[in-house]
Amino acid sequence: MADLLITGGRVIDPSQRLDRAADVYIKEGKVADVAAGLAKKSGLAGAPRLDAAGRWVLPGLVDMHVHLREPGRENDETIAAGTRAAARGGVTTVLAMPNTEPAIDNASLVAFVKAKAAAEGAVNVLVAGAATLGQQGERLTEVAQLVAAGVAAISDDGRPLMNSELMRRALEYAHGCGVPFIDHCEDLHLSGGAPVHEGAAAAVKGLRGAPWAAETVMVLRDIALCELTGARVHIAHVSAAQSVEALRAAKRRGLPVTAEATPHHLALCDADIEGYDADFKMNPPLRSPRDREALLEGLADGTIDAIATDHAPHGPGKKALGLAAAPFGVIGLETSLAVCLTRLVERKILTPSQLAARMSAALASILGLKGKGTLRRGADGDVTIVDPRASWTVEADFESKSRNCPFLGLRLKGRAAAAVVGGRIAHAL
């Protein structure tokens, strides 16, 4: 367990309403002290140091929507490469989604991912367990055993449960076992596998469009089932204005529903899709400018609790098939913080403290993680150091094994200068 003294930075920790110059001392992997002048204490003279002058010091970022692809699709991503990508993006904890091959639907597969992550992971890896066997939407997994094996959430991400009765039972089990259920909201009949949003871009390109309602009808269903069961329901990658409105109303009524949005839905809309470039294809699709505005409003007023990437690597070649035929998904771990700094903080949609909350504390709270999302004494020594002035251009030199990024070539302001995991430096510029 490592010691580290982070000196001279601006510490921004919304969990303690902290925003001031201070040093952070991590002892044996845990936060031991946050105070000004620690660097001068004689007792800490020998501790390894990380200079954070001119930088922001945040509780380590958590990304609760990441596809590490291992086991089964190691050409697209591995636990090793995916966690290196996380560290480079300033993310110190990821939640790995269960739609691997095979799906993470039993305790031994959970153990496999955790062991592999412990041996090869650059950052903390949490595991989400599948809701149904093989994510086939037919038989529930042994949820209690998955939770005993350490899953942080249950989800059939990417394979929405169209059967509402089954969804109800899955929620009841997740609730009983004390973990949230993360749902990818999509009515598969309404969306029809469409590669883009049903709007102007689909009309011109001659592509089938997925209407916003394909998402919102399922958000509304989940809100009803949340109320019926009392389960904690987390809505993944919200994309439509009407979904934001439904969530706002549900939260007003005090239901235990939470939500995330991705950096690409916050930064882009369907008008930004370049030709038939499949690096702009993901599910849910980039929607209209109006939807994007609603997401920003929802993020600012707290209707959307968290930012998560839906990092979805697809290896070389697969995206060359073009918008219509390529698989859904884009990578995001290495650009999420920088895109959010550029598009949200720089444009005054969020304060630096609000951004820290939406990328760290809120996710720790949704997942019930003790010691994450905060720099309180005794918390895990996970820290993200931000250089708010770094100006850089997104290039295809990713740590991820894949390059399917819609932000390639974009000029960004701000990036992760370092990522500290349990007091160890996992990444430093």
Binding site: E198, G199, A200, A202, A203, V204, K205, G206, L207, G209, P211, G275, Y276, D277, G317, A320, L321, G322, L323, A324, A325
Partner: protein, 312 residues
Amino acid sequence: MAKETSSAQGVWARKDLLGLEGLSAQEIETILDAAASFKGAPVSDALASRTVAFLFSEPSTRTRSSFEMAAHRLGAHVLGFSAASSSLLKGESLLDTMKNLEAMGVDYFVVRHETSGVLEPIAGLVRASIVNAGDGAHEHPTQALLDLFTLRERKGRIKGLRVVIVGDILHSRVARSNIHGLRALGARVTVCGPATLIPRQIERMGVRVSHDLSAALEDADAVNVLRLQLERQKQNLVTSVSDYFQSFGLTAERLKPFPDCLVLHPGPINRGVEIASDVADGPQSVILDQVANGVAVRMAVLSLLDQARGRG
């Protein structure tokens, strides 16, 4: 890119014809003018040393025949692939197939594919000229060009014409290419059909939307009737063929108040589904003119692309 142009050849500097979106009025008129001269003198040896390969992953009789005839009349060699060999035409291997044929000396690819936009990422990666003969629901530029040619021939102009496109706009590459071409040349376009077959926000393409064919035909100079695929019934996009014909079929009765309105159809015709037989064969129909003009238009496209590729 070449800028020099003689007045006979007009403005053309593109290697490929993937669609009409983004073409200028001048570029489109260059093709139509060249087509007019080929129509007057339908044999040439302009492409005597060239090879044209056909890659069709969907069946086609008339478009393919028309292109083949155009290539023959220009003196080119023709290399054909049938729909049965379409496993060569899936996604990535389409590029591999083209690269291989190009290495054998193919100068043109005339491609039909069921996937919208499939040619866009490929065009920049091959030296040969690519002509889009229809990609998914995206574009079918030579069909729209022959529609424009026929309209211009009959009406003397395109600018200011009112054109109605009726039918399955949602799935129609003919509709999209026509909209781009007609708008570029200054025509006014109304798309008409049941709400299920009109894409949301199609108005962004600069067209009006109507769900009432008789109202849409008021003052129309031409109506382009799209083929209705019978599978739209199974998808519940159309309730029944007879119900569709009642509402959107072009009948003599519906057309009677508008004797100056030309009737176009890209073929093949479903008689009694989207158009009544007597209208298809009637005095206002220019459907066979379209077919005849298609060969001249495709000769014009192939020869213009050859010149641009030669200069590039």
